[in-house]
């Protein structure tokens, strides 16, 4: 290039200046994140209060009295409310993708403001990095907060109800618990940004992002059991596995040594054998699996980010 003889170090925007600019530009993100966190924790607190209150009333009541029936109904309701809470948290990545990610670049391209930014003293790469970094930080914080709220509510549900819907492997628990929800939110953000960059119009980008993120969520749920090797147990009796396990398949071992799942026991007496098999993920696989899944989601997010850079570098503005 012939430019190297000129201006040995060209003046470029300082990092703090860039940070101030992006913060000013995205200042609605902060109250929005605060509002989401406040709402989630308020809802979590309400869930806990309902669970403990209903449990207390049902413990105190005399069986076979109407008051006791009412207390049990309350407990069931509180239990259902926790499920709704978890389902709502599972939607959070979709909302992040559609409302934070998709408009991020699409709106700039739609309004032409990228032409303004890209003629200031900073390279397209630095501009894009700053555009990514601030929302990513806010989304990480918010998603981590929601994960803590989910754990807090789940703890109360486990103390107060006998339902086995609160096992860590339950999809609605698994997806809202630990580090996976943080990784999913970041992936949704990256997908939204990429879709917005490709589509260049905000509303269609939001719609497409919703569909893509929902599809990816379903795909991840489908892939999840295969992320780590299955454990198997073969023996007599069955259902003796210790700890919180994720049972995926069980059935009988037939005389010829083949495995027949219980749901295929059509022939009369087909499953009458003393030996059973169980395929499952053990309790100690929970955190490794969360780690593997998060790494996979973050790798996809990194790929989406790289693709966004490539598209912006290649495409004519």
């Amino acid at each position: 290039m012939s430019t190297q003889t000129l201006a040995p170090s060209a003046p470029v925007a300082s990092r703090s200046g860039l940070l101030r600019t992006v913060t000013r530009r995205r200042r609605t993100l902060f109250p929005a994140a605060a509002l989401v966190l406040f709402a989630v924790f308020a809802w979590a607190a309400a869930n806990r209060a309902a669970l403990f209150g209903a449990r207390e009333r049902s413990d105190a009541c005399t069986p076979l009295r109407p008051a006791c029936d009412a207390a049990f109904v309350d407990l069931m309701d509180a239990d259902a409310a926790v499920q709704y809470f978890q389902y709502a948290l599972m939607l959070l990545p979709l909302l992040v993708g559609a409302f934070v990610g998709a408009p991020l670049i699409a709106q700039e391209l739609e309004r032409g403001t990228h032409r303004l930014m890209l003629t200031q003293s900073l390279s397209p790469t630095r501009w894009l990095t700053a555009q990514f970094a601030l929302p990513a930080a806010v989304v990480t914080t918010t998603a981590a907060g929601c994960s803590l709220a989910a754990a807090w509510v789940r703890a109360a549900a486990r103390q107060t109800t006998a339902q086995n819907a609160w096992g860590r492997w339950e999809p609605s628990v698994y997806s809202t618990f630990g580090i996976v929800p943080v990784a999913s939110a970041l992936l949704a953000l990256a997908i939204g940004i990429l879709v917005g960059t490709l589509v260049r119009r905000t509303l269609p980008a939001m719609g497409i992002t919703l569909v893509v993120c929902a599809g990816l969520g379903a795909l991840v749920t489908w892939v999840r059991p295969h992320l780590l090797p299955l454990r198997t147990w073969v023996g007599h009796g069955g259902y003796q596995l210790k700890g919180e396990v994720w049972m995926l398949r069980d059935g009988v071992v037939r005389k010829d040594g083949t495995w027949l799942p219980y749901d295929q026991c059509h022939a009369p007496g087909g499953c009458r054998t003393g030996t059973v098999f169980e395929e499952y993920h053990s309790a100690d696989q929970f955190w490794p699996m969360q780690g593997v899944e998060s790494a996979l989601l973050l790798a996809c997010a990194a790929a989406a980010v790289a693709a966004t850079y490539a598209v912006l570098r290649r495409r004519a503005f």
Partner: protein, 313 residues
């Protein structure tokens, strides 16, 4: 011509092809706009003005050829530091206030000059008003103030005067002119209203159909052409357009008007000769796309590094 050889041109294009949406908008553009001058970029809609400015601003990557601002690639840190650009639609963030917008300029440009920005902004735009609440003309002023505050060496302005009232237009042009005079800023401003730039520009660039039709100093362009008027009966107008040097021949009733180049041979017959107005000159070139372009100084002839490989891409 010797002043052009010194230092790099404000904008220099070598064999520039730019595509947009699969269509070639600029085709083989070679030009050189001297530094420290105000250049009027004119031409019909779709002629390539915006594409040329966006390419010069580093926003569009040439498909072929190169563009350099004061010798620097506009899509590099040193290029970006030297240029300021205001797009045709004057994009700004509608939810930011005027003060926020100028703060953004300060934060993103190390050489920020608040005095230059304030001079362009003028006094009648409230600092705390949101951009979205301003009128089109006020928004233009803010966008121009943002560009001025950058204290760039080359200002690339796409239709900067289009939505300004006469008073603002006067303010903006006088601020631009004094900046050019005080800091030696090179200004390239486009317009499809020719009259807007008369008296403002000292350099002319006419783009039509993706190519250069005219390029050079305004006064040279005017001095290099004559407008001839004669009686149709005495001058055999049917032969005239074929003569060399004739840019355009128009016959209206008994009178024929010719625009000819100063170096062209005058066709026979009694003609009244006068210097054309800038508008007449430009219109004649736009109406006769087959006539050869007028280029005062062909790029590559005067600049020593003309042999560099940029155009080979």
């Amino acid at each position: 011509m010797s002043d052009r050889a010194e230092g790099a041109a404000a904008v220099r294009a070598d064999g520039l092809d730019v595509r947009r949406g699969g269509k070639t908008v600029l085709r083989g553009v070679c030009l050189e706009l001297p530094a420290g001058r105000v250049c009027a970029l004119v031409g019909p809609n779709g002629g390539g003005k915006t594409t040329f400015l966006e390419t010069a601003a580093g926003l569009l990557r040439p498909h072929k050829g190169t563009v350099r601002l004061l010798g620097a690639d506009p899509d590099s840190d040193s290029g970006r530091a030297r240029l300021a650009f205001v797009g045709q639609d004057k994009p700004l963030y509608p939810r930011l206030t005027v003060a926020d917008t100028l703060r953004m300029g300060r934060d993103l440009n190390p050489g920020w000059r608040p005095d230059l920005a304030a001079r362009m902004l003028g006094e009648r735009i409230p600092e705390q008003a949101r951009i979205g609440s301003l009128s089109g003309g006020q928004r233009t002023r803010v966008a121009l103030a943002l560009a001025m505050g950058k204290a760039a060496d080359v200002l690339l302005l796409d239709e900067p005067l289009a939505d300004l009232d006469p008073l603002s237009r006067h303010h903006v042009t006088s601020v631009l002119m004094s900046d050019a005079a005080e800091r030696g800023t090179s200004i390239v401003m486009s317009s499809h209203v020719l009259a807007e730039l008369e008296g403002v520009a000292d350099e002319l660039l006419l783009l039509d159909n993706g190519g250069v039709r005219m390029s050079g100093p305004v006064d040279e362009a005017l001095a290099d052409h004559r407008l001839l008027t004669g009686s149709t009966a005495e001058t055999a107008p049917q032969d005239v357009p074929a003569l060399p040097g004739v840019v355009e021949a128009r016959t209206r009733g008994r009178r024929t008007t010719l625009l000819v180049r100063g170096d062209g041979t005058l066709p026979g017959g009694p003609w009244q000769s006068e210097e054309p107005s800038l508008e007449t000159l430009l219109m004649s070139y736009l109406r006769s796309p087959e006539s050869p372009p007028w280029i005062a100084c062909h790029p590559g002839e005067t600049v020593p590094e003309a042999t560099h490989t940029g155009a080979a891409a």
